[in-house]
Symmetry: C2
Subunit: 322 residues, 2 copies
């Protein structure tokens, strides 16, 4: 059973709200306004290394939630923090709080509540540090962005560059050629920038959006599933950092197509909106790149430089493939 099958089978029920389970954010209407909300749990050894810098961890724990708000085009407003700590280490807490509030203040997003507890004893040691943040954002003016709404003929766009977070993990695992890029990639993994300003600009412009947290092909599959469409991706157009370009072709593909944790926005928009999309990127201060288009059907195809079907070992991410 995959994560998505499990959610579909046990935790998906019809809802009166504007948007329930199955997107980056839930949406509820309150007094004529729309609120977006999202929740992510990060657990030691599953989502981060035990020795991760606590300031980076505080940043990232909030950033992954703000990235979900960005994918809904929501403006961050406030958040709740649930924290299970193995111990009350003041220096650690100070650094964690500094990283978290540093990012929060950048987006005017306030901590308004939560829960603090102690990790349980677990086989003679402390159980994992666990962080669960719930973030809320305002969608004004609407409508919110969602994974549904992509239409055949739409352009497919992505912000920034893809694959650097996965390259950081490859460096850590000794699976990448040693270059001077290690620290820069680690910064992208540990301190991602949620594309909040871009998400706000894309409201009313993008037809569908998602943040790239499961990998480009995986997240494109989520858009395909919710929008009932397929996609054609041009590998040569996928934006790669100079750091990733210095690696082997195989690693470039693995990191950029299947690597998660980049927290860029992947979105679709009608071709006639190209000037507005480019302007949105400029206003938000981040490059946006056209990497393909939405097509009818349910196949997700990656084209090589010659326009042929590129075989990638990562197509397994697409369980709709014909």
């Amino acid at each position: 059973m995959t994560e998505f099958e499990l959610i579909a089978r046990f935790f998906t029920r019809p809802s009166r709200e504007r948007q329930g389970v199955g997107d980056d954010c839930a949406l509820i209407d309150v007094g004529g306004r729309t609120l977006a909300m999202t929740c992510d749990m990060l657990i030691e050894r599953r989502h981060f290394f035990a020795d991760v810098d606590p300031e980076s961890l505080g940043h990232k724990a909030l950033a992954v939630n703000l990235s979900d708000l960005a994918a809904a085009g929501a403006t961050p407003r406030c958040f709740l923090l649930a924290l299970a700590l193995p111990r009350a280490d003041e220096r650690w807490l100070e650094a964690f709080a500094a990283g978290m509030f540093g990012l929060a203040e950048q987006f005017g997003c306030e901590l308004i509540g939560g829960d603090t507890t102690r990790s349980p004893e677990w086989n003679q040691t402390s159980g994992p540090l666990t962080i669960c943040i719930t973030a809320l954002g305002d969608v004004v003016p609407g409508p919110a962005l969602s994974r549904a709404g992509a239409r055949p003929g739409d352009d497919l766009w992505v912000s920034g560059t893809l694959g650097d977070a996965a390259l950081a993990l490859a460096f850590a695992a000794g699976a990448a050629a040693e270059t001077d890029d290690r620290d820069a990639c680690m910064a992208r993994l540990e301190r991602p920038t949620p594309r909040v300003r871009l998400g706000e600009q894309l409201r009313g412009l993008a037809t569908a959006a998602i943040d790239v947290s499961d990998g480009l092909l995986g997240d494109l599959t989520h858009i395909g599933e919710r929008s009932q469409v397929g996609a054609r991706l041009r590998w040569a157009d996928v934006p790669l950092s100079p750091a990733l370009r210095r690696q082997s072709a195989a690693l470039q593909q693995r990191c950029a197509l299947a690597g998660g944790d980049d927290y860029e926005l992947l979105f679709s928009a009608p071709p006639e909106k190209r000037p507005q999309v480019l302007a949105a990127g400029q206003l938000a201060g981040i490059n946006v790149t056209r990497i393909g288009e939405i097509v009818a059907g349910r196949s997700i195809v990656v084209l090589d430089a010659g326009g042929g079907n590129m075989e990638t070992p990562f197509s397994g991410f697409d369980h709709f493939k014909a």
Copy 2:
């Protein structure tokens, strides 16, 4: 450093919202309406036994959040579920979902999102099952209830009976006299009833409210702290179940004064509102009992049957005591 000191020092910042860190719920105003929200994390071996019945666990994980909404006088609306599972056990998931949705449907509270992940490996075994629910409620008509607002001269009230959940733990630890009450007490511990309907009735009536999760004296201390008042409690008036009355006087006091997890509502109201408070209890289908009064100053005193100061080993919960 206690939990409360840690929160005060690292995680309390001024906020523009109606109510931030420090109460049962945060409150935000949206389009002329007020939303209450709360978040609780439950971790295996910290908050529940590893072999707990999954249906009861699903019930309780949501109930503790609905109890926080009740303490704010909010009507449950929707919730997010973050879940870290050691394994995808279908029978376990089915039972957990049945318990959770059973309670959710009772209050028209819908699951609209969340996060599902796998517990990390932890010393050759799976890490703890972890559940973090964020619940939202509507406060209409307002105002919401909070811990602040109790005034000297107010009556102090509590719903239901206190100490049964703690007695269940005493049974489990072999620290209670064996009686036939074990299962009934275990049901109160494992499947608490959030006093949602009472909370709704108390809006505009109670001057302060909190749910009893840290123990009567601990939670009364929270009201005292936020309302800047003290309290006088008459031990003889504290409502005890027949089950607890069959135990020793010492165990009665420990369970009812210091035992957590009862999820009854503790609240204050002006003496002239006694008929309305009793009517609110009747409408909500739960007994409410006057157990003392709010006083000026910051002392929390427990009076014995003769009106003298009762010495209890649990007064340590009150760090304001003169």
